[in-house]
């Protein structure tokens, strides 16, 4: 493709070189899809939650159960995304750098959490990790309860979040220039320094993307979590999407959407923050 990069980084493409024909047509489709699928539903969330008077809104949001649920959702999703970043990198590394029998199958298995209905995953996990299940039995012997605690909740979130991280890192790792590593070796860096200083810094933008996706998915997750979390207001194992469902089950749409709105704002600000970090980083490393 013949293109001229202009100074501000945008790419000017000659009319005849466009892959998808018709700027008007494609923008039209984009706007329609965006509004039907994303903007209109979001606007209706906003509208519904404005049915509450401001002081009712505040009492609802500052309710102890709601605050704890926000805390649980955010902290568990954060820890799960962090763990996913570590194991996701290892997994992607194994898939990209090594050849072994069954590699294709393992590669496919990574995506299973995407296609499995989340409720099925949740019920299976809660059974496996309850103190009568296969895994849970082992852990209960050393006095660790997994199902119906924050640990179980985090495990469910790790399960649904892992594909995001692996799939974000894999292509970057595949395209990583081997010369970089060779140069580092040649200049006397040991493997540890090569990994942390060279490879990891190349991976960082992709890692951030994977982290953000897994984290965002984890905050709003419902299906896989409710069966394993125990949903106890006393032990603070209620997640925020569960509290929203509580309201919905009694058709209290106003309260449900009000909590959803706050959740949206929190998620958006976190994603925004991650984007800012990413842009800063890519400016510094000149990597885009």
């Amino acid at each position: 493709m013949r293109s001229i990069a202009s100074r501000n980084g945008k790419i000017k493409v000659k009319r005849s070189d466009r892959v998808i024909p018709g700027f008007g047509l494609s923008l039209g489709i984009t706007i329609v899809m965006l509004s039907v699928l994303i903007l209109i539903p979001l606007a209706s969330v906003l509208l519904y939650s404005f049915q509450l008077s401001p002081d009712k809104f505040v009492t609802l949001i500052t309710n102890r159960a709601v605050l704890f649920a926000f805390g649980t959702s955010i902290s568990c999703a954060f820890i799960a995304a962090l763990i996913n970043c570590i194991f996701g990198t290892v997994l992607a590394w194994v898939l990209v750098r090594y050849d072994f029998p069954g590699k294709r199958i393992l590669d496919g298995v990574v995506e299973l959490p995407f296609c499995l209905p989340t409720a099925v995953a949740g019920i299976t996990l809660s059974k496996l990790y309850s103190d009568t299940g296969w895994m849970g039995r082992i852990f209960s012997r050393i006095g660790v309860k997994i199902s119906y605690t924050h640990i179980g909740l985090t495990i469910a979130l790790i399960f649904i979040g892992i594909p995001f991280v692996v799939r974000a890192i894999q292509p970057v790792l595949e395209n990583l220039d081997p010369q970089l590593e060779e140069a580092a070796y040649a200049l006397g860096a040991n493997p540890r320094i090569t990994f942390f200083k060279i490879i990891l810094s190349e991976l960082r933008p992709a890692l951030l993307t994977g982290f953000a996706l897994a984290f965002a998915r984890g905050i709003g997750e419902y299906g896989s979590v409710i069966y394993i979390s125990g949903n106890s207001a006393k032990d603070h194992t209620q997640v925020i999407s569960y509290v929203i469902m509580q309201k919905l089950n009694y058709m209290d749409y106003a309260s449900a959407t009000a909590i959803a709105l706050v959740l949206l704002i929190i998620s958006f600000s976190i994603l925004f923050l991650i984007n800012v970090i990413q842009i800063r980083q890519s400016k510094r490393t000149n990597y885009l």
Binding site: G24, G28, I31, V36, S147, G230, N231, Q246, N249, Y250
Partner: protein, 346 residues
């Protein structure tokens, strides 16, 4: 020249947008389910545990209707948590009849203007052709010796019951316990609250709905006792006769699953008459027998007596009216800051 092109571009955007939007709009009008080649279709939106009952009942009704009118009728079923099912009807599911776990869920559909106001009196016995009650399911041999509600408040007894703040069905469990304590303590509210606090402190897993609680108790082996609907407990017993026992407490609450025609949809679909026949047939002897077989208490007293070995008929039952009806019970007990929050977060 440039300007012209810009306009054309804008026009394409607008036309694409309009076409796509109208395509989306058309999609929603395409449904509708009246007579096609003489076959009538009605949709029954029900809740989870009625799956087997209605599978059998629909077969029976189809036969009866064919004999009476010569027409084939096809009943489409939908099952799920009762509250969620009511919500789906409010949000536009094309149900001709609803057969839900509590009258309150049907009231929610009524409040959306889809059901006529006097639905509760449209069919016999407050439009509830079958009833149920709250019982205990314990593990075989009853190792914790659970006989009545106060055994659930003892130390070391793990109780499984769903979250009343999430599931309407779970409220019955709370109210049944309240009824017991009310009788025991002669209406002393602070003592009743203490009792409920002790009971709910023993709850080790609180699922979002009755089905989830059953899974936790049966599949995941959690807890010593499951507070359950009698029909659910009987269904579990049928499946695992070796593993569980049913204990009927001395006092419980009469749960009245209710049925109603969704008038707005039935009028639109032209199914008002079939829907009425469908629900009225539930009261016939044949249907009442089926109901008893599938673990619900038949509303017909003579047929109920035939099942005296299956249901403990000596249990002392209160009704939701003793709590001033569902709406006031909800307000008093389960709303944010209500009695349930008070005893549970203590």
């Amino acid at each position: 020249m440039r300007n012209n092109r810009a306009w054309r571009r804008l026009l394409t955007v607008a036309v694409t947008a309009a076409v796509a939007l109208s395509a989306v709009g058309c999609g929603s009008k395409a449904s509708g389910n009246t007579k096609k080649d003489g076959k009538i279709t009605i949709t029954n939106v029900s809740y989870d545990p009625t799956r087997e009952l209605y599978a059998a009942y629909n077969k029976e009704f189809t036969k009866y209707y064919k004999g009476k009118t010569g027409k084939d009728v096809d009943v489409v079923m939908s099952h799920g948590g009762s509250g969620g099912q009511a919500r789906s009807v409010v949000e536009g599911a094309d149900a001709d009849v609803v057969t839900l776990a509590l009258a309150h869920d049907i009231t929610l559909v009524e409040q959306a203007g889809l059901i006529n106001k006097d639905w509760l009196k449209e069919f016999d016995l407050d439009s509830s052709p079958y009833t149920s009650t709250i019982v205990f399911l314990v593990r075989k041999g009853n190792p914790k010796k659970i006989k009545d509600w106060d055994d659930l408040t003892k130390k070391g007894v793990d109780v499984i019951t769903p979250d009343p703040k999430s599931s309407g069905g779970a409220c019955w469990n709370f109210l049944a316990a309240w009824n017991y304590a009310d009788k025991k303590f002669g209406g002393d509210e602070s003592k009743i609250k203490e009792f409920e606090h002790a009971l709910y402190s023993n709850v080790s897993v609180m699922d979002s709905g009755a089905r989830g609680a059953t899974t936790t108790f049966v599949e995941n082996g959690q807890g010593d006792v499951l507070i359950a609907w009698e029909n659910e407990a009987l269904a579990t017993l049928k499946e695992y006769p070796e593993d569980y026992e049913l204990v009927t407490p001395s006092v419980s609450i009469l749960a009245q699953p209710s049925v109603a025609i969704v008038d707005a949809n039935a009028d639109k679909n032209g199914t008002q008459k079939v829907a009425k026949d469908y629900l009225e047939y539930l009261y016939t002897d044949k249907a009442q027998e089926l109901i008893g077989e599938y673990g619900y208490r038949p509303s017909n007293q003579t047929i109920l007596k035939k099942y005296a070995d299956k249901f403990d008929l000596n249990v002392n039952l209160c009704t939701i009216d003793d709590f001033g009806g569902w709406d006031s019970a909800y307000e008093k007990f389960f709303q944010d800051g209500g009695i349930f929050d008070e005893i549970y977060s203590k």
